[in-house]
């Protein structure tokens, strides 16, 4: 198409990449944040912070479940669904939720209540905030778009990412050598080296995360294999995939539930005393009520939790699934597990984060490389170039600024505010849009510097603000062993330091810019 195969692939790499790069930056960024979804959830809920102090004799899993069932019986007897999430490593508190009956026609909503797992099951207060769930949803549902539209867009971008990765590998002749090649201060060459190094170091991660990301949405993206094999009946496929997904008719007849101890014993007879991920009790109080128990998969490379479905009145076992997966099933399921990274302990979680950062570096250097190359060819920037430059500035400096604003809003918005969670998100998008407007005025180095310094101030100020609002400064968190809290402050300061370095670098660049213009001309 463009002469030789290599030239065609170079062309494809450039254009496929450029077309979706900003959406990919958003997806990568939100995905990286999602690895810390639980942790961000906890940080954004100051009411939960005292539960992060390690308990002397924390309640056991069985005691938690027993307490939760009693609480739900008393507080939500007419609810259609109860959820119990016992504490785990990442969320050392008990979460109890129930579906609230709304007027017919309206969507039912969940009410959540958190308890410390101390002696008294102290109830904890929460504020209306999406926290880490916002970034998790942003990763594949974007926002202000219908989820289906958003997911197709995300799939499309991911597919282009995969094509860009493959064509990138094809046009790259010296993968091993480039691992160790980085020439600083050489303009275009340095950007290309940075692009290569960030791509190549984490290449297995980039390929894995892109492919497995598509696998998480695969039945939306490719429904036809299931439809072909199951003669057009998608429901039959999902039932065969997981036989605990059955719907049971309500009997409309009151009946008492089996004692918690009894059904738990039955679960443990099957699985041993495993940690449980969640328990869902549907139609509690009805004669046909069911108890669905999900075991935690822990550090196994398995995403679908082993599940048991019991009749809540008799304890009769109705179905079991995902206990030992077949090899073909594992082929599929392990991909989802690798993508979500729920299996990761803190060390591996940070490695995931590093992979995400390198992915961002790859995208950002790619975007900058395109502009700089254009500027070398055409001295005067045309509209397309102008647009790319603005989008780069808004994506690279604006996205962190929007994120930090989200955290500021989380601490500053009044706790009783109507639609508070949505307001936090509105702040995120408002700040991001503002940086885009700011970037569309001019994209020179001065603009980059201004936004970099703004980032420095915002990130560095966050621990101070948080300490003032929550009255729990970093050193206290450190003394109390609230690891999540001081780790957040540490990361905030690290981000500030990063942007300060960038700002200083830009400063020395802007002094040199007149020189480099002459350089470019001689280079041409």
């Amino acid at each position: 198409m463009k002469g030789s195969f290599f030239r065609t692939m170079t062309w494809l790499h450039t254009w496929v990449g450029l077309l979706t790069i900003w959406l990919l930056i958003l997806i990568f960024f939100a995905g990286m944040m999602s690895f810390f979804r639980s942790e961000i959830n906890l940080w954004t809920q100051p009411g939960l912070h005292k539960a992060l102090i390690a308990q002397q004799d924390a309640k056991t899993q069985n005691e938690q479940i027993d307490f939760a069932v009693q609480y739900l019986k008393k507080n939500a007897p007419s609810s259609t669904s109860w959820w119990i999430l016992p504490s785990n490593d990442r969320q050392p508190l008990l979460e109890v939720a129930y579906q609230e009956q709304n007027e017919p026609g309206k969507r039912s909503s969940f009410v959540s209540q958190y308890f410390a797992i101390d002696e008294y099951f102290t109830p904890l207060t929460t504020i209306d905030s999406k926290g880490g769930d916002f970034f998790y949803r942003l990763h594949f549902d974007l926002h202000y778009l219908s989820p289906i539209t958003a997911r197709w867009l995300v799939c499309f971008a991911s597919l282009f990412m995969l094509i860009a990765l493959i064509s990138g590998i094809i046009i790259h002749k010296r993968i091993f050598k480039d691992l160790f090649t980085w020439r600083s201060g050489k303009g275009l060459r340095t950007w290309l080296d940075s692009h290569n190094v960030s791509s190549v170091i984490a290449l297995p991660f980039h390929l894995m995360i892109t492919y497995t990301g598509l696998v998480t949405l695969i039945f939306m993206l490719f429904p036809s294999p299931a439809l072909t094999k199951f003669n057009g009946d998608f429901g039959a496929f999902f039932k065969a995939l997981d036989n605990t997904r059955m719907s049971i008719d309500v009997a409309h007849q009151h009946s008492d539930m089996l004692a918690t101890k009894q059904w738990l014993e039955q679960v443990y007879t099957n699985w041993g005393e495993v940690p449980l991920k969640r328990i869902i009790i549907d139609h509690p109080g009805d004669a046909n009520a069911t108890i669905k128990v999900f075991a935690s998969t822990g550090q196994r490379i398995q995403d679908s939790e082993p599940t048991i479905l019991l009749n809540a009145r008799t304890g009769e076992q109705l179905a079991r699934s995902n206990e030992s997966l077949s090899i073909p099933h594992t082929f599929y399921d392990s991909m989802t597990a690798l993508h979500t990274g729920r299996l990761a302990k803190p060390m591996l979680r940070w490695l995931y984060c590093l992979g995400g950062l390198l992915g961002l570096a790859m995208l950002i250097t790619g975007a900058i490389l395109w502009v700089n190359r254009r500027l070398n060819i055409h001295e005067k920037a045309h509209f397309g170039c102008q647009l790319v430059k603005s989008l780069n500035l808004a994506a690279i400096m604006g996205l962190p600024l929007a994120t930090v604003s989200f955290f500021w809003a989380n601490r500053l918005l009044p706790t009783q505010m109507q639609g508070r969670a949505e307001q936090e998100i509105a702040v995120f998008f408002f700040v991001w849009l503002s940086t885009l407007l700011f970037a569309s005025i001019s994209q020179n180095i001065l603009q980059w510097q201004r936004l970099a310094w703004l980032n420095v101030v915002a990130w560095a100020g966050l621990p101070v603000l948080s300490a003032l609002i929550t009255k729990n400064p970093t050193h206290l968190a450190l003394l109390n062993g609230q690891t999540i809290l001081w780790a957040f402050d540490f990361v905030f300061l690290l981000s500030a330091l990063f942007f300060a370095t960038v700002a200083v670098k830009l400063h020395s660049r802007s002094n040199r810019v007149t020189v480099s213009k002459i350089e470019i001309q001689t280079w041409k």
Binding site: M9, L162, V215, F222, S224, K229, G232
Partner: protein
């Protein structure tokens, strides 16, 4: 005259690029979906397992078809390829599945 020639050349090139993208995005999707669907009928696994493996592989097929669409020099050759392969695979699906 020369500007006119230039313009038509540019347009031809542009149309070729658009055609390839359309072919790669939609045609590639159709072919990879069809290949995976046929694969479910061939794989010697249980019905669920066959679907899981074939569906998971569909992304690899898509990438392959996508790259191929741009790698082949002649546009008409690749388009013919698409039509023949598409017809063959859909025939297979219609023949051996009650879907459609």
């Amino acid at each position: 005259m020369s500007t006119l020639l230039n313009l038509s050349f540019l347009d031809l090139y542009r149309w070729q690029v658009i055609a390839r993208f359309v072919l790669a995005i939609f045609g590639g999707y159709f072919l990879s979906a069809a290949t995976s669907s046929v694969l479910t009928l061939i794989l010697p696994f249980s019905a669920v397992d066959a679907v899981l493996v074939a569906t998971t592989l569909s992304i690899a097929f898509y990438s392959l078809f996508f790259i191929m669409t741009f790698a082949v020099k002649s546009l008409s050759k690749i388009a013919t390829c698409y039509v023949i392969l598409g017809l063959f695979l859909s025939h297979f699906i219609v023949q051996y599945s009650e879907w459609l």
